[in-house]
């Protein structure tokens, strides 16, 4: 039986490497994410100064979304691509930075620019602004990667015509560890959007 929805493209970013549809398209020796993200930004000739003001989670999500959506010939005004993201650590990396700025009672100077990123779903807003997505978006926190939930939620959005396409996946940033795995689901493509296939792409099997 033919599947109802399909994965059109997917991107994985981890360990200093950017992969698109299973092929490595950029790699660097930089072990520190701040250097890696900057090199990736420059390599793909992205021009979006706001990128440098984002927190690490948003930078990671932004880069993965950029790789996928730049090939989509998006409308200049409005696009209906829903975002369904997930991770385990929420915005913990930025939460820790904020915590550090308020833990010393003699010197409390929290940064507004850090504070605004103390929610994981802010990265969805950054991507929506960048690509003019006037669409549904949700960010879920799970103990581990949950392919069943992503499939169910994306199919519901597509079946009820709340979205024409759905950009789904996992964007995790915690300490020195980072991993983004995003993929685009739509009606007409090649890879069946099944739990088994989502997991095999996520685990790079």
């Amino acid at each position: 039986m033919r599947a109802e929805f399909f994965i059109k493209s997917f991107c994985r970013i981890e360990n200093g490497q950017v992969m698109f549809n299973g092929n490595t398209i950029f790699t660097t020796e930089s072990e520190i994410f701040s250097n890696f993200s900057k090199e990736t930004y420059r390599h793909f000739e992205i021009s979006y100064p706001k990128f440098f003001k984002m927190d690490n989670l948003s930078k990671l999500a932004f880069l993965a979304a950029e790789i996928i959506l730049k090939n989509e010939n998006l409308d200049a005004d409005k696009n209906n691509i829903a975002l369904v993201f997930s991770n385990r650590a929420s915005s913990l990396d930025t939460d820790r930075k904020h915590q550090k700025s308020i833990e010393n009672s003699g010197s409390i100077f929290p940064s507004p620019a850090v504070f605004v990123y103390t929610l994981p779903n802010i990265c969805l807003g950054e991507i929506s602004i960048r690509h003019r997505l006037y669409s549904e978006n949700s960010f879920f926190i799970f103990e581990k990667f949950n392919a069943e939930h992503l499939q169910l939620y994306a199919h519901n959005l597509l079946r009820t015509k709340k979205a024409e396409k759905v950009l789904c996946g996992w964007v995790e940033f915690d300490g020195d560890d980072y991993k983004a795995f995003l993929y685009l689901v739509e009606k007409n493509a090649e890879i069946p959007h099944t739990v088994q296939k989502i997991e095999s792409l996520y685990y790079n099997e």
């Binding site: 940064s111 620019a113 605004v116």
Partner: protein
């Protein structure tokens, strides 16, 4: 005064993460917001925190920032006149 203006330019670039902007590219009278450096409302809040943290100036009304942050020159004049550290 000149040192303070240089110091402010360096702080603005570093604290507001203005990638690809150098001190020499910021004129003393350039607008910090709008068509100038293009700073936004979060940047304005960040500058208010910087005034408090580095110069001991606490703004009671954030709207005051609109005038104070007009340019590096205006900021430097205001800091010189009101700094407590």
């Amino acid at each position: 005064m000149s040192d303070l203006k240089q110091e402010l330019k360096a702080k603005i670039i570093e604290q507001l993460n203005l990638e690809d902007v150098t001190i020499s590219e910021i004129d003393d009278n350039d607008s910090l917001f709008g068509d100038g450096l293009g700073l936004d409302s979060i940047d304005a809040l960040e500058l208010i925190v910087m005034l408090d943290k580095d110069y001991g100036i606490r703004l009671s009304d954030p709207k005051e920032g609109k005038k104070i942050f007009e340019s590096v020159q205006v900021m430097a004049d205001y800091i010189e006149a009101n700094r407590t550290k």
